[in-house]
Amino acid sequence: MFFNKTKLKELGWSDDEIAALPEKIKNGEFTLDDMIATAKEAVEKGVVEPGFGYWHRPTKGGDFLQYYAAYGGRLYDPEQDKLIVSKGALTNWYAFQRKVVTEGITPENYIGTEFAIWHDTVSHGNALFWNGGVWQWADWAENYVKDQGGQDYLFDFVGYALQPSGIEGQPGVTLSHPLVYMITSEQASGDSNQDAACALLAKTTTPEVNTMHAVESTHLGILKSQSQDSEYTSDRLLSDTLYMLDYNFYQPNHPMYGPYFDILFDNMVKAENGEVTPEQAAEDAVQLLQSEIGDALIVED
């Protein structure tokens, strides 16, 4: 989660409080409810325009699961190799999405906002809190605030922390997304250069190459050894956010995960738009999940 240090100061926070925010989120002392309250206060005091208190991701994406996880939701049971849906966490997640609208810190028709607009708004400091990915930093520096000073401009007013937990005392969460290199088999491709392909991958999966990529596009590294690489550690954003890797979770690699996520997201949108109540949306989601995924699903409260 990113936050606007300048606006927090306008709200009356001291420099120390602002600096301590990431730590508090990490320890579960600043929860999603606290964030809503802060944003609401900012809107009421005119520090931000209405609807600019909290800007989560504007389009479909796995990031939303951070709220599900923030309320204790579980995704996957590796022993049984089944997906899990935690009804209570699901309902709380949907309720949170609706609450940010009803409290006036997120606009009502927010989902579907064009990314170009989203980037422009948040990178120019018009929102108080917003939820985004570490790689967007380079995007903002390169494409949106380059004339204002790029990364330096951002470091001036943007702070970053884990996604706050929904439960007091629980640490914050963040979503990561591992990728896998795959080489087509001889049977599938008709080529027999699998060894060469493997060697090529080995040659490119080195700390130096990947750190170059990570620094330039502000992505996370992929090798643990990168955290010792001097280029990596001297990049301010990357080294500041390194601790977050201890608190991350991934989306499971289950074949039915696609439909699972689609159902969760579609019903989330309905809850956020007010089309149905959060409770109803959660009920609908679980029902649909059961009919679509059936045996591969565990439903728990």
Partner: protein, 318 residues
């Protein structure tokens, strides 16, 4: 002329058969390249798709472990809670866009652009073709910025009474129909306009001299000349709309209640970020669409008396 008649009436049966064979073989030679391609890339694939719809082929089964499941996919479709609403939405979408734009606006623009100086008509028609020529990513981006929240959105900036919010979730169908319609109208517009322009000038002038006003001339001289183009455009565009989804995909991705049948099939079969492509089920959805489209095409053809258009060619003198 006399030669023709004599040959035709004096042909004994055996020669008649030969002539038919000859004609048929020439026909086949002419047709063969096109037929080969149509068979390769239409017929065979459609049979494969029918076949696919009877399996549970997906990325979780892979190409090795799939099963034949008969009509199970179809059963799944017809008992699916989304099926009914999606079908209704699709009918609404096709009907509205067809009537308002693909045929309606096409006709209006064709008529208007042929009643103004020729150069001006060209310019307007070229403008109406712009949406079709533009890469869809850019075209839809333009519409998204039309609908966007202020201060970015074009509509919201110049019409503040609209409220300032992102208009797309508020009125998704308006934008879906507009985006598809502006593209679709250009097809009919070109066909109608060229048909109108090919009506002999004398006819057009004579009507006016006889006391018709512009409206009557449209009704009694122009519209009858448009019968074939109207049939063709209506049929062709109905099928186009039924199977189109790319604009909706980019605009709303089916959210806000805009998931039409073709998009549903695409979502299932080919568009899953987490990689579970359900080809079997998606194929079954596509087959349903094809059947509906084929039925619609047949109905149109009956209604517009297709048979008249495909009379056997006059037997030639060979």
């Amino acid at each position: 002329m006399a030669v023709t008649t004599r040959t035709a009436t004096a042909a004994p049966p055996k020669e008649g058969v030969l002539r038919k064979l000859r004609s048929a073989s020439i026909g086949f030679w002419f047709m063969s390249p096109a037929v080969i391609l149509v068979v390769l890339f239409f017929f065979i694939p459609s049979i494969i798709v029918f076949g696919l719809s009877m399996t549970n082929l997906s990325t979780s089964t892979g190409f090795q472990n799939y099963d034949w499941v008969g009509f199970e996919n179809y059963h799944k479709i017809f008992t699916h809670p989304d099926a009914g609403p999606t079908a209704l939405r699709t009918i609404f979408y096709v009907g509205a866009t067809l009537a308002l734009f693909n045929v309606g606006m096409a006709l209006v623009v064709a008529l208007l652009s042929t009643h103004i100086p020729r150069r001006a008509g060209f310019i307007f028609r070229a403008l109406w073709l712009l949406p079709r020529l533009t890469p869809s990513v850019i075209y839809i981006m333009m519409w998204k910025f039309m609908a966007a929240a202020s201060p970015y959105g074009i509509l919201n900036r110049y019409f503040p009474f609209l409220g300032g919010q992102n208009l797309l979730p508020d009125a998704p169908w308006v934008f879906v129909i507009l985006t598809n319609g502006f593209i679709g109208a250009s097809f009919g517009m070109i066909l109608f306009a060229s048909a109108i322009e090919s009506i002999p000038r004398d006819f057009m002038n004579a009507a006016l001299v006889d006391g018709c006003n512009a409206w009557q001339r449209i009704r009694y001289v122009i519209l009858p000349a448009l019968r074939w183009p109207l049939l063709f455009v209506t049929t062709y565009q109905t099928l186009s709309l039924l199977t189109s989804f790319e604009q909706i995909f980019i605009l709303t991705d089916g959210q806000f209640g805009t998931e039409v049948w073709a998009l549903w099939s695409y979502h299932r079969a080919l568009s899953n970020y987490w990689g579970n492509f359900q080809w079997g089920f998606g194929a079954a959805l596509a087959v349903v669409l094809v059947v509906i489209g084929a039925v619609a095409a047949v109905i149109y053809m009956r209604f517009f008396q297709f048979n008249q258009l495909v009379q056997e060619p006059l037997v030639e003198a060979l």
